[in-house]
């Protein structure tokens, strides 16, 4: 099998398992997510157990995996290695949190729930992609401005 095929199959399989996990965990139920964020109202701790399960398993396996020289089907690991906390991280995460609290949906479940064909999920997904496209335009114009200010 070509390595591109193996990468594709692995990515697909991981995606399927990821989607089933989100569905079992209750992440495709916006009311549960909003309930978790309703800390000052009727708090629903369900989401904390999702995080606990996910991080517990991933933390345990990750340390063994990255001891390898390379992943199975690619030449090297490509993990983020930045450490600095900047304004982009803070503002971006804060905006994401507002959207998450308003809709009760984050990017994973937004794609997983498309299969229902239900209008609220489809509308959210389209708006999310639109938001990402707006970010691209914003990011490009910021970069242009920065390079213009550097060159006299």
């Amino acid at each position: 099998m070509k390595s591109g095929t193996k990468v594709g199959l692995s990515a697909f399989g991981s995606g399927v398992l990821f989607a089933l996990g989100l569905s079992v965990a209750g992440m495709t139920q916006p009311s549960k997510v909003i309930g978790f964020l309703d800390f000052f109202g009727s708090w629903d701790p369900t989401l904390a157990f999702v995080m606990l399960g996910a991080i517990g398993v991933h933390f345990g396996l990750l340390r063994r995996i990255v001891r390898r020289r390379a992943p199975l089907f690619e030449v090297k690991f490509r993990l983020p290695n930045r450490n600095e906390v900047d304004a982009r991280l803070l503002v971006g995460s804060a905006l994401f949190g507002v959207g998450w609290g308003l809709g009760g949906i984050c990017p994973g479940p937004a794609i997983v729930a498309l299969g229902t064909g239900a209008l609220p999920f489809v509308a959210f997904f389209v708006a999310m992609v639109a938001g990402m496209i707006v970010f691209r335009g914003f990011d490009d114009s910021m970069k242009r401005r920065r390079s213009e200010s550097k060159s006299p």
Binding site: L17, L20, G21, L37, V50, G53, V98, G108
Partner: protein, 143 residues
């Protein structure tokens, strides 16, 4: 504590979370990347040569898994949401823009980043949960 006292939703949440962690681990072991959904989708909006296939296959997997879950357990999906449509559209735009600016969402920062003890991901996760809590406090909760 008696095991019967543990609500079934918590058990399912823990098991589902475990599946998410396992999926992220398989992805890391085979493809060598972070299973962060917003980054994987966002990268497709500025496609680079040789950087498209694995993204498309992962997203197709999410879609396929979602359809499978919907066919087997439709109750897992809360299609009659209590939030009105305009709310959801504004929410979607904020989630799309915010996760790209902050370079990660619940999966990339919340699961993968925290598992790597990334300081950036810890700050991001605390920030989006805090702003989510404030938002729900202002706009009302689920029930």
């Amino acid at each position: 504590m008696n095991l019967d006292d543990v609500p079934l939703t918590w058990v399912k949440a823990f098991l589902g979370g475990g599946m998410i962690g396992l999926a992220a681990s398989i992805f890391l072991l085979t493809v060598g990347r972070v299973a962060g959904v917003s980054g994987i989708v966002g990268g497709l909006l500025k496609p680079a040569m040789g950087d498209i296939g694995w993204r498309v296959w992962f997203i197709l997997g999410l879609l396929f898994g979602g359809i499978l879950a919907w066919l087997v357990v439709p109750a897992a999906f809360d299609v009659s949401m209590h939030r009105p449509l305009p709310f959801l559209v504004v929410a979607g735009v904020l989630v799309g823009f915010g996760t790209r600016l902050g370079q990660g969402c619940t999966s990339g920062h919340g699961v993968c980043g925290l598992s790597r003890f990334s300081v950036r991901s810890l700050v991001a996760t605390v920030t989006f949960i805090a702003s989510g809590v404030v938002t729900v406090a202002l706009f009302g909760g689920g029930s």
